[in-house]
Amino acid sequence: MGDITIRTEKNMAGNPILEVKNLNVSYGQSRVLFDVSLEAAEREVVGVVGRNGAGKTTLMKTIGGFLKPSSGRVVFKGQDIVGLRSFEIVRKGLKYIPQDKGVFSDLTVMENLQLSSYAMKDYDWDKVIHYFPKLKQLMNRKGAYLSGGERQMLMIGRAILGKPDVLLLDEPTEGLSPSVVQDLARTFNELKETMTLVLVEQNLSVVAEVADRLYIIREGKICAEITDTNEIRTLAFEKHLL
């Protein structure tokens, strides 16, 4: 196990908007998360890194309301959201973008955006186009014919409709070309100006570039919390992953 940095209030850049407290999650008899605690301040990028099977996706799904924890709390904007249904959590302003780049393949880009607009009553697509200008040319293309990067753009574009306060991104750069990854990293830095991002990533260079706070998860436990941005930017945290 690596070193654990004990966080104090002064580590926080702002007020915590999302707090996960002593979260325990099991799949049947198999326990996956052990007393996981983390927090994210407003307009902060929080990275969660760890090896495959460490429990990162389980953590995201539990925060997003898709899995029910056996114990622990998830406090979002001061309210415990454990037990709320996933769509209720989304409407409160916490959105989860899953790993599978799951756009609706039979629907066009425009229809995918319309679905999100209708759910969130937010029809301001200018901000989507602002972050992802390429989507403007792809409006009539069906989801099935988008590249991995384009799908990811569409998923994030869909998610930012309704002005969420927190975006949970599960391995958004997985399988994308380096140039697309670079573009996404730039977008994350821009999005940070208006919302909090919780970024689960295997791509450490992306995390190093954008994260303000980092949690390292190993075998279902948070083994380190790093708030020193120098340590994050220089990838010095890699030692915790070994």
């Binding site: 249904r85 996933s86 769509f87 989304v90 959105k95 799951g102 609706f104 679905l115 293309r141």
Partner: protein, 326 residues
């Protein structure tokens, strides 16, 4: 104009064909096709748009039929009000049972609906025998009065009415297809969690779809009730549960033309083969197995692309003007 033709041409052709066939084929056959077509459209919405396979559809068909029959037997004589009563019964019961059934995962939903159908059959046959008169059924044709505009006791007027209802139901489902709700149904069918990621209450989407589909199934039941002037529990028999599923699959699940084409072919096969062979179910069953091998695509899904390709070959300019969609 080209777009309109492309979009609605096939259905206009189908309905025009039905109108012409009305004068060629026996009227009862065409009436059966139209009413079963409405019933199949409801099932098609449930399975093709919501991904819910129900073997309990005869229950909702029967509820509509008995709603109309009970009104015409005990309360009033206006057939239009009778139809409204039948649809209302279908809506209310679907709203109530939908709350429980729609929460079930696919196979449990299918079986729970089948069980519900058995309950409804039992109620009509034995449980409520004092008002439904059990197997004897309800007869009310003599009580029915002329309705406004069309006299539904008159076979020709009834044909026009049923035809108009079938067109309206088709237009209604076509309209749903163009709405965000329609897109949500399809999206939820493919992947429900994805829809929840966007903030949709998928239970409500499915519940509403369930109510819509069963209201239309009840409407078909009401039409049967007016058409026959008689209802019996046989309408909700479990043995009939597979019929609408077969018609849906035969026509092509999720296609707008499928239910009508499926109803036409299925009822046609039944009528034709039963004239020559006593055990017609055996032949129909074998033919259906062959069609089912094509999967959900059915007749429309299989032949549709071929017809489109042929039409494009004949009119290359048209295809070129539209361009190939990515």
């Amino acid at each position: 104009m080209t777009k309109l033709l492309k979009e609605y041409g096939s259905i206009v052709l189908i309905f025009v064909a039905v109108l012409i066939l009305r004068f060629i084929l026996p009227r009862p056959f065409i009436m059966d096709v139209l009413i079963f077509g409405v019933y199949a459209m409801a099932f098609n919405f449930l399975m093709g748009h919501l991904g819910l396979v129900s073997f309990g559809q005869p229950a909702y068909l029967g509820l509509g039929a008995y709603g109309t029959a009970l009104y015409l037997s005990y309360v009033g004589t206006n057939p239009y009000v009778g139809i409204l009563a039948g649809v209302l019964v279908g809506i209310v019961v679907s709203m109530l049972v939908g709350v429980f059934l729609v929460r079930l995962s696919s196979s449990y939903f299918t079986l729970a609906n089948l069980a519900f159908c058995a309950i409804v059959f039992f109620l009509f046959q034995k449980g409520l025998v004092s008002i439904t008169r059990g197997d004897t059924g309800l007869w009310y044709l003599a009580r029915m009065t002329k309705g406004a505009l069309l006299d539904l006791k008159n076979p020709n007027d009834l044909f026009i009415f049923v035809f108009a209802v079938a067109v309206l139901v088709w237009v209604f489902f076509r309209y749903i297809d163009t709405t965000v709700y329609g897109a949500c149904c399809l999206a939820g069918k493919v992947n429900e969690p994805k829809l929840q990621f966007l903030g949709y209450n998928t239970f409500r989407i499915k519940w509403l779809g369930f109510v819509i589909a069963n209201a239309v199934a009840a409407l078909a039941g009401s039409l049967y009730a007016i058409y026959f002037g008689f209802v019996s529990p046989g309408l909700t028999e479990l043995t009939r549960a597979a019929e609408v599923v077969i018609v849906g699959l035969l026509g092509g699940v999720g296609t707008l033309l499928g239910p009508l084409v499926g109803a036409f072919v299925y009822i046609g096969m039944k009528d034709l083969i039963s004239k020559f062979i006593m055990y017609w179910e055996l032949v129909v069953g074998l033919l259906l197995v062959l069609v089912m091998l094509a999967g959900e695509r059915g007749i429309v899904g299989t032949l549709g692309p071929l017809v489109n390709r042929l039409m494009r070959r004949r009119a290359p300019g048209l295809a070129g003007a539209e361009g190939r969609k990515p």
